[in-house]
């Protein structure tokens, strides 16, 4: 079901700013690839470029054999990509149910899948008919992730899902991400919380100034403090 995501020489301009300056990397099928880097390195822009929300000015983006660059976000979504933005972007005037109903493009929501999601995020079941704008920050994040999971997707792009969340909620999120991976989806995850990165990441790509400066196994980076300091400017243990 899942497929490799491959970025080859991707450049993105936003206005007069040249943000991505030739991004090359691959996220392997069925694995979780962490995208790390300092603030402003281009991580969010990379996810938004893959999703088509910023248009790549040069380079190619492929999901398996399918070209994604140049396609509209709606086409990219229909090719099997789901996006969880850093801002969550839930529809606050709609209920939890209505948010998920819109995300289930292919028809009625699958009851079994819904139960699977409720297993990780029981609050969504509790507040099923409540207005999403009234949820807490953590519950909104659950809804944002649930929206990406309500139908099977080949690739999940998730931007800082644990930002500002209480540790108990982060644990639920880690369990959820591991289970998504077990089901075979490819995940590209931007995350500042090292505990999460270490627990769910298989591979890692580190960005700096709009380029990939390191790509390898997450376990290797996690074990090498000197490398962490060189690439990220700090030890990841101090960043959780």
């Amino acid at each position: 079901m899942s497929a490799n995501l491959t970025l080859d020489g991707v450049h993105t301009h936003i206005g007069r700013y040249h943000i991505l300056q030739g991004v090359d990397f691959a996220a392997a099928a069925g694995r979780t690839t962490m995208l790390l880097g300092r603030n402003g390195a281009g991580k969010t822009t990379t996810l938004r470029t893959v999703m088509g929300l910023w248009r790549a000015s040069r380079g190619t983006i492929r999901l398996g054999e399918k070209r994604l660059d140049g396609a509209r976000p709606s086409e990219i979504a229909r090719r099997g990509v789901a996006y969880v933005p850093e801002t969550m972007a839930i529809f606050s005037d709609l209920s939890v149910r209505e948010n998920l109903l819109l995300a289930a493009r292919e028809g009625p929501m699958d009851e079994g899948r819904l139960d699977w999601i409720f297993g990780f995020f029981p609050a969504l079941k509790t507040f099923w008919l409540s207005r999403a704008g009234g949820l807490s920050g953590g519950q909104k994040q659950m809804l944002s992730i649930a929206r990406a999971l309500i139908e099977p997707r080949d690739l999940l792009l998730i931007d800082e899902p644990t930002k500002g969340l209480a540790p108990a909620i982060v644990d639920g999120l880690i369990a959820c991400l591991k289970d998504i991976k077990r089901r075979g989806a490819t995940i590209l995850l931007v995350e500042q919380n090292f505990r999460v990165a270490r627990e769910v990441g298989d591979d890692v790509a580190v960005m700096d100034n709009g380029r990939i400066v390191y790509a390898g196994a997450m376990a290797e980076l996690a074990a090498d403090r000197e490398l962490q300091g060189r690439l990220l400017g700090l030890s990841l243990d101090s960043h959780q």
Binding site: L53, S74, A77, A89, S92, L94, L101, L102
Partner: protein, 331 residues
Amino acid sequence: MTGAALPKPRVDIWPALTPLLVAAIAAPFIGSASTFVTLTLASLAMGAMLFVMASGLTLAFGMMDVLNFGHGAFIAVGAYTATVVYRLGAPLAGGSLGLDLALFVAALVCAAVVCGALGFVYERLLVAPVYGRHLEQILITIGGAIVIEQLLLALFGTEPIDLSPPRAFQGSLVFGQIGIEKYRLVALGLGLALFVAQLVVLSRTRIGLLIRAGVENREMVEALGYRIERLFVGVFMAASALAGIGGVLWGIYQNQARAGMGGELLVLVFIVIIIGGLGSTTGCAIGATLVALIANYAGFLAPKLALVSNIVLMVAVLLWRPRGLYPLSAR
């Protein structure tokens, strides 16, 4: 993680009560009960027509962020379409209540179809190239309105065209000292029906959910796999069709169709959607009712103040609720 119960959403009832408040304040000044009831019913009918004209604009404005200063032109096109339908159907008019009704419905349907189709062309040609650029939107939609108005003058002449209510809707119902024009009741009923229909579509259908979601966050709707551009076109066509229906109702209410009628109404329509909160259908309905009540009460009590009454109303509402009576949470 289920935690404590979610705080219940605050039911914001006060904006919905403002028309009652306005009526309660005006009643002692008007004095006569029959005059008060007649004025109030006339206001409700006028409010219903304003709602029909404004409801499409508020959705298009809220969702597409498009300042369509050409909306009034669709009101005029709707009214002129009704004159054409009535002219073609003249041999049938007055034949029976059923035929009169059929002609009236035909005028409404034709106005909706013509304005919806014109809205499609207008959106593709004029609006689509200037999404996100407000200054250009204002200029180009004013230009579009001028072109449509001039085309109406060229096609139908400079003189207003008579547009009387169907015979079945002429005259008044009298209850004691209270007289209610039949046509105003029809307009009120139609306005209410369209209000309920819009609420049902927006809350019970997938397309309605998409519109509400699109008003909040267009980018995320697109990222979920929906072509927001197609939704925009659809909403714009629906907004134009509603303006056309409103134009038929208003034209019959005024007994004439004029090329400039839409432009004259546009100020009121904008006041209605700003008071109501951009993108809010319920806010639009309450805003339209308030505008009509104030216009009629002020017209009766202090005719010289009638012209500025709605500006004063808008200032008062915005001082109380800077984003309108029922603002959408995300915008």
